[in-house]
Amino acid sequence: MSIIVNHLTYRYNEGTPMESVAVDDVSFKIEDGEFIGLIGHTGSGKSTLVQHLNGILKPTSGSVYYDGRDVFDGDFDLKVLRSNVGLVFQYPEHQLFETDVFSDVCFGPKNLGLSKKETELRAYKALKLVGIEDDFFYQSPFDLSGGQKRRVAIAGVLAMEPKVLVLDEPTAGLDPKGRDDLLLSLKQVKEETGCTIVLVSHSMEDVALYADRIIVMNHAKIVYDDTPVNVFRHYDKLKEMGLGVPEITSAMYKLRAAGFDVPTDIITVNDAVDAIMKIMRA
């Protein structure tokens, strides 16, 4: 069920003076079960890129293959693709519309033509996965807090049980706790459903802990596509792009610059503690 993006280019407002290239000749492959962090500065083209993954945007040139088939072929059923590749947009809480939380989450699976029972079962499971308690099920989605609204909106996509879940800046505008909770639930979703996750973000901290592969975009192009540790080796280049590395990696670089013999390929606080303890004992 891999997704292959092949030499994809997308231009906005083609043929007008406002024309601009959002994605420029990008190629990569998403394998089953990966947790990919797609990182880039605001305006680097990452949001535009992910909208191609479920066929919402059609590339100006290049192609997207799902399961070996070109998704922009005339006879490819985009509805099937959209049920397999779930896309959670930026500020997904803005798409809520139903009178109560539960019906809103039912919207997706209902559109798939599932039975009422199956629809409700999926909605229930999805809401549980993102940690929404039963008490909220019959409240108006507009009465919830920001973080809860976002969870409900994500559940709305999860309820379609996609094989690939793409989230565009799911943590934007959340407080630190809301952010950590959300990222943790995403990890749980991945563990429980085994789906592939593509997490779009401009924050290194967000993806460093969970992603096992990081794709860095800058000025509409892919600059790095590697494991987190390898990507963070490009400390200076990342800083130039305005992205930087996780705080803790940055701290290790500073320690090293100050003459301490610590490794710089560290991305979690625990590893950092171990490394520092090691040189302190030595």
């Binding site: 407002n13 043929g15 007008t16 003076p17 406002m18 909208q51 479920n54 919402i56 509805k79 959209r82 049920s83 779930g86 896309l87 959670v88 947009f89 997904p92 803005h94 798409q95 809520l96 519309f97 919207f107 997706g108 559109n111 798939l112 507009f142 709305g156 996509v157 379609m160």
Partner: protein
């Protein structure tokens, strides 16, 4: 999908028309629209075409861009042409089944088609070459004399500029919500009418919610900056007539006179 609507959009370019005072452009557009209704023959339209074509060429807006805006009214156009074509009584040219096309019908239908086309193109030229802010500034100043009659000109202009400013924002928002619901399997292109109308609910409700949220935010932001209406408010770039504006007025009046003459003598 929504990007096709060019009515009310601004097309950035460097041209005399772009630099004209918005009051001149508003007046010119008004004169042009009125002139289309003054005319009762094709010679008048030929003159109108000259005026419009000159304006388009001088404005440096590509014709294809203006034409794209006509897509939105294609149904209105076809509808009015068909009605006029078949419903006008007179000398029959062709007839089949219960329908017949008359000589007068062809005349009236083409007349109406040209009128609608010119109306839309004429007003597009104004909006394409004037930024919304400029446009409302022009309106506010141009209609300032109405203040004597206690018409809240400033408030109306402010409402208009806010409305115009929000068109692209809400358009973008619609596009975004539409995509988001499509990602959840919503079908906006269903052939069945009932289904299609129903499919609008997941689009309209979030759109209304966001419009109200934005209105609320904007009101707060305006109050935070001590907005108290038009009284005593000064402008950073006050409108001032220049030589080219006088010249433009001259051309507009000459055109209007021409149109009236054409009606009198042909």
């Amino acid at each position: 999908m929504l990007r096709d609507i060019t009515l009310g959009q601004y097309y950035p370019a460097e041209s005399v028309i772009h630099r004209l005072d918005p009051r001149v452009k508003l007046f010119g557009t008004l004169v042009f629209l009125v002139s289309l209704f003054i005319t009762d023959n094709f010679i008048g339209y030929a003159l109108a075409l000259c005026f419009l074509a000159t304006a388009i060429i001088v404005s440096k807006v590509p014709l294809s861009f203006i034409m794209r805006g006509l897509k939105a009214i294609i149904f209105l156009l076809i509808f009015s042409v068909l009605i006029n074509l078949f419903m006008t009584r007179g000398e029959v040219v062709v007839s089949f089944w219960k329908l017949s096309i008359t000589k007068e019908g062809i005349y009236v239908a083409s007349f109406m088609a040209i009128r609608i086309l010119f109306l839309i193109m004429g007003s597009s030229i104004m909006t394409l070459t004037t930024t919304p802010n400029n446009l409302t500034d022009g309106l506010e100043k141009g209609l300032g004399f109405l203040k004597i009659f206690r018409v809240p000109v400033h408030e109306i202009a402010m409402m208009m500029s806010i409305a115009l400013r929000f068109i692209p924002i809400l358009m973008e928002e619609t596009d975004k919500i539409m995509k988001a619901q499509m990602a959840r399997g919503a079908d906006f292109e269903s052939k069945k009418l009932t289904k299609r109308v129903k499919s609008l609910v997941p689009l309209l409700i979030p759109l209304f919610v966001s419009a109200f949220r934005r209105a609320n935010d904007l009101a707060t932001a305006m109050e935070a900056r001590c907005y108290r209406g038009g009284k005593g408010r000064t402008k950073m770039k006050p409108l001032k007539y220049k030589k080219r504006d006088a010249l433009a007025y001259l051309i507009i009046f000459a055109y209007l006179a021409g149109m009236i003459l054409v009606r009198r003598f042909f």
